[in-house]
C-alpha cells in the first residue's frame, strides 16, 4: 500500500470538478432545504436542465455559448416554477416524492430515442465547451502545487468553479442576514406564524426554489463543462442523494456547510476508492474485485447518510436546535 500516493490522490480530488459540482449543488439545496425546509429531491433535475440547456443551444441549435448559458439559467427558472406551482402547497413528504418523480421524468425524456436528434439519447451531447476553454489564460502544460496536480484545462475549471462557489457563498451570507432570509427561516420553523404576519409564504417558497435552483444550474454548467459532455445518466437520482450527503455532513442552514461538506466528502469518496483499489490490486483483500470495490463506496455513502441522520443530523457546523425537522 502506497500511503503517500493514496493521500495525494485523495487530497487532489478534494478540490476537483466533482467537489465543485457537489458544493454548488449543495449551496442551492441549502437555500431550499436548510433555510426554507423544502425537501427538494429533484436537485439533479436543475443540474440537468442547465447542462442540457447549454449543450442543446450550442450543439443542436448552433447558437452562441453565452446564449446557451442564458438558456440554461432560463430553463432552470422555468423548471422551478413548473415544479413549484403544484408542489409548494403540499406537505413535505409529497414534495419529496413529486420532485424525485419530476427529476426522473426529465432524465427519461432526455434519454429517449424520440428526442435523440435534440438531446442525443443515452449518449448525450458533446462539443459545446470550446468557447469556455478558449477563455483560459493559462498556457498549456501540467502544473503541480503540492498534492494538487492538474493540467491547464482542469485548473481553469477549478479556478472558475471555486470562484462561483465564493460568489454564491457570499450571496447566501448576505441573503440570509437580510429580512428575506429571516422570513425563509420563519417558514421552516412555523409556516402558519409567518402567514399570520401577512407574508405570502407560497411566493417566498417559490423564490427559495428558484434561487436554489439557479445555484444548482451553475453546478450543472460546471459538470457539463468539466466533462465537456452532458449525458442523461450523470443526472440520476443518486446525484441528488450525494448532494444531500454533502450538505448534511457540512451542516444544513450554515453558510459554510456546503463547502466543508464538499471538501470532506470528496476526500473520503476518493480515499475509500483508492484504498480499496490498492488493497485489491496488492492482494490484501481477495474476496472482492476492484469493480465491487467501487460499488462498496456507494454502500458506505448510504450507511453514512443513515448514521448522520440518526446521530448527527446537524452535521459538523450545524445547530441541532435549529433543525427540528418534523411534520405530521
Amino acid at each position: 500500500m502506497d500511503w503517500g500516493f493514496i493521500f495525494t490522490a485523495s487530497l487532489s480530488a478534494t478540490i476537483g470538478i466533482s467537489a465543485i459540482v457537489y458544493c454548488l449543488g449543495a449551496i442551492g439545496l441549502n437555500i431550499q432545504f436548510g433555510y426554507t425546509g423544502l425537501l427538494n429531491f429533484g436537485q439533479a433535475a436543475f443540474l440537468a436542465v442547465a447542462g442540457y440547456g447549454l449543450a442543446t443551444t450550442v450543439t443542436t441549435l448552433g447558437l452562441n455559448f453565452w446564449v446557451g448559458i442564458l438558456v440554461g439559467m432560463g430553463a432552470t427558472v422555468v423548471l422551478a416554477v413548473i415544479l413549484g406551482i403544484p408542489t409548494l402547497r403540499l406537505r413535505a413528504d409529497y414534495l419529496a416524492i413529486v420532485t424525485i418523480a419530476a427529476a426522473e421524468i426529465l432524465r427519461l425524456t432526455l434519454r429517449s430515442v424520440a428526442f435523440k436528434d435534440t438531446f442525443g439519447g443515452s449518449d448525450g451531447l458533446q462539443q459545446f465547451s470550446d468557447p469556455f476553454y478558449d477563455l483560459n489564460p493559462i498556457a498549456p502544460g501540467a502544473y503541480d502545487f503540492g498534492p494538487f496536480k492538474y493540467n491547464e484545462k482542469a485548473w481553469w475549471v477549478i479556478i472558475v468553479g471555486w470562484s462561483l462557489v465564493a460568489i454564491w457563498t457570499l450571496l447566501v451570507f448576505l441573503l440570509m442576514r437580510s429580512p428575506f432570509g429571516r422570513v425563509l427561516r420563519g417558514i421552516r420553523e412555523d409556516e402558519d406564524a409567518v402567514r399570520s404576519l401577512g407574508k405570502n409564504v407560497y411566493w417566498y417558497k417559490m423564490q427559495a426554489l428558484i434561487i436554489g435552483g439557479l445555484s444548482g444550474a451553475f453546478a450543472g454548467f460546471m459538470l457539463a463543462l468539466g466533462q465537456s459532455a452532458v449525458s442523461p445518466d450523470a443526472y440520476a437520482t443518486n446525484l441528488t442523494f450525494l448532494i444531500y450527503v454533502v450538505l448534511i455532513i457540512g451542516g444544513a442552514a450554515r453558510v459554510f456547510g456546503p463547502i466543508l461538506g464538499a471538501l470532506i466528502f470528496s476526500f473520503l469518496f476518493q480515499f475509500v476508492d483508492v484504498v480499496l483499489d490498492q488493497a485489491v490490486n496488492t492482494g490484501l483483500i481477495t474476496f472482492i474485485t476492484s469493480t465491487q470495490a467501487a460499488q462498496i463506496r456507494l454502500v458506505m455513502v448510504g450507511v453514512g447518510l443513515m448514521l448522520l441522520m440518526i446521530y448527527r443530523p446537524q452535521g459538523i457546523l450545524g445547530d441541532r436546535k435549529e433543525l427540528q425537522l418534523d411534520e405530521r
Partner: protein, 423 residues
C-alpha cells in the same frame, strides 16, 4: 444513547445474515449494465438449441452477430435504446427444427434494461393485430402489472399510515424477495413455487428485522419523520448497492418456467405462469383486505392508521400492530418482487426502478389507506400498459409519473383519501 436490547441485536444479525447468505453462494458475475438484446433459444420441448447465429442490427448501421451457447443463451449488447431488428439465421438451425414464423423480430430496447426475445420455433405466432386486440392484450397486462404494484403498495401505504414513515427503501424489499427466491431456486435447487414461498417468508423476516433493528429504535428515540425518511433513502442506496455487489449487474432468470408458450383467449395471449401469478396475487390481496376488515388485528391496524394516539389510549398495542404491518407488508412486497422477476427476470435494480410507480399508485389512492393503494395500483398498471398504444414504450413510466403530479395538483388526497391528510 440507544439501548441495545438482545432482540435488537438478533434482528440486526438476522438482517446481516440474510445478506451474507446470498454473498456466500452467489458467484460474482460480469456486470453488464445497460441496453442489450438477449434471449434463450429453445425448442417447444424446451430443449435448448445451440450454435444458431443471431444478428441484431438497426437503421444507423449497427450490426452484431452472436451464436447461441450450449444452454441456448445469446446476448448482444446494443449501443443504446431504440429499435432493433433481430434476425435468426435459419441455415444454422439444426435439421428437423421448424424455423420461427416471425423472423426477423423487430424490438425496442428500453433504457438501461436488457430486452428479451424468444423465437418460437415450430409454432404459429399470432398474426397481430388490430388496435382493439392490442388494447385487450395491454389491458390484461396492465391488470397483471397493477396487481404486482398493489402487492408492494399495500405494505408501503399501511406502514405510512401506522408509523408516518415514507419508506424509500420499500422497493428494495421487492428486490430482496426476488433475489432470495432466486437463491433458493437456482443455488439451492428448490422448485420455483416452493422457493417463492421461502423467499416470501425470508422477505417477511427481513421486514421484522428492519422494524426491530432500525425503525422501532428510531421511533423510540424520537427521530423526526423527515429524518427517518432520509434514513430510508440512505438505507435504499446501501441495500441496492449491496445487491449489486452480491448479485451482480446482470439480469438473471429463475430456473423453472422461464419460457412458456402463451395460451390464446380470443385476442389475448397469456402464459400459464402469468395466469397463475395473477390469480395468486388477487387471492392474496383479497385475503389481506378481508383480514383488514374482519380480524381483530386488521381492525386494530386501521385504528392505528387512523389515529395512533387514540388507538393506544383505547388499549391497542401499537407496537405489535406496527410489527404485524411490517412483517406482512414486507412479505407482500417480496411476493410482488418474485412476480415481477418472473416476467422481467431478477435484477438488483428492479425494486428501485419500481419504487416511484408504487409511490404513484399510493399517492393516487391516498397515502395511508390500504384500499386506496389497491385501486391506485390497478389504475397505474393499466395506464402504463395502455399508454403504449399512443406513446413510445420507453416513455411509458413518464406518463404514469406525470399523472401522479397532475392528481396531486387537482386532488392531493388521492382517490380514496380524506382531505385532512394533506397539510
Amino acid at each position: 444513547m440507544v439501548h441495545w436490547s438482545v432482540t435488537r441485536i438478533i434482528a440486526l444479525v438476522v438482517a446481516a445474515l440474510g445478506v451474507l447468505g446470498i454473498v456466500a453462494v452467489v458467484a460474482a458475475p460480469a456486470n453488464a449494465e445497460g441496453e442489450a438484446v438477449q434471449g434463450t433459444l429453445r425448442e417447444l420441448s424446451s430443449a435448448p438449441v445451440a450454435g444458431v447465429t443471431i444478428t441484431v442490427s438497426d437503421d444507423s448501421g449497427f450490426s452484431e452477430s452472436t451464436e447461441t451457447d450450449a444452454e441456448g443463451v445469446w446476448v448482444v449488447e446494443v449501443p443504446g435504446p431504440g429499435e432493433y431488428s433481430v434476425l435468426l439465421d435459419e441455415e444454422t438451425l439444426p435439421d428437423g427444427t421448424t424455423p420461427p414464423t416471425v423472423n426477423p423480430v423487430i424490438t425496442t430496447a428500453d433504457p438501461g434494461t436488457p430486452r428479451f426475445i424468444n423465437f418460437r420455433l415450430g409454432e404459429n405466432e399470432r398474426n397481430v393485430q388490430t388496435r382493439w386486440d392490442r388494447a385487450a392484450q395491454l389491458s390484461v397486462e396492465g391488470v397483471r402489472y397493477g396487481l404486482i404494484l398493489a402487492l408492494a403498495a399495500v405494505g408501503l401505504s399501511l406502514i405510512y399510515g401506522t408509523t408516518g414513515l415514507t419508506n424509500f427503501a420499500h422497493g428494495e424489499i421487492m428486490t430482496f424477495g426476488a433475489i432470495a427466491t432466486w437463491f433458493f431456486n437456482v443455488n439451492v435447487g428448490i422448485n420455483l413455487i416452493l422457493a417463492a414461498v421461502l423467499g416470501v417468508i425470508t422477505a417477511g423476516i427481513f421486514g421484522w428485522a428492519q422494524e426491530r433493528g432500525l425503525w422501532r429504535p428510531l421511533r423510540k428515540r424520537g427521530t423526526g419523520l423527515i429524518a427517518m425518511m432520509i434514513v430510508s433513502i440512505g438505507f435504499a442506496l446501501a441495500l441496492a448497492n449491496i445487491y449489486l455487489i452480491v448479485f451482480g449487474g446482470a439480469s438473471r432468470p429463475y430456473g423453472d418456467y422461464d419460457t412458456q408458450a402463451g395460451i390464446e383467449f380470443g385476442s389475448v395471449s397469456l402464459t400459464p405462469k402469468d395466469m397463475i401469478s395473477m390469480v395468486v396475487a388477487a387471492l392474496i390481496l383479497a385475503i389481506a383486505g378481508l383480514a383488514l376488515i374482519k380480524t381483530r388485528i386488521g381492525k386494530a391496524t386501521r385504528a392505528v392508521a387512523d389515529n395512533p394516539a387514540l388507538a393506544a389510549s383505547s388499549g391497542i398495542d401499537v407496537d405489535r400492530v406496527i410489527m404485524v404491518v411490517w412483517i406482512s407488508g414486507a412479505a407482500l412486497a417480496g411476493l410482488g418482487g418474485v412476480m415481477l422477476a418472473m416476467t422481467q427476470q431478477v435484477s438488483y435494480l428492479m425494486g428501485t426502478q419500481t419504487l416511484l410507480l408504487i409511490f404513484a399508485a399510493v399517492t393516487l389512492g391516498g397515502l395511508g389507506t390500504a384500499f386506496g393503494a389497491l385501486v391506485g395500483s390497478l389504475v397505474v398498471g393499466m395506464l402504463i400498459q395502455l399508454s403504449t398504444l399512443w406513446i413510445n414504450p420507453e416513455l411509458k413510466n413518464v406518463g404514469a409519473l406525470l399523472v401522479m403530479i397532475i392528481v396531486l395538483m387537482v386532488r392531493p388526497q388521492g382517490i380514496l383519501g380524506r382531505r385532512s391528510r394533506v397539510g
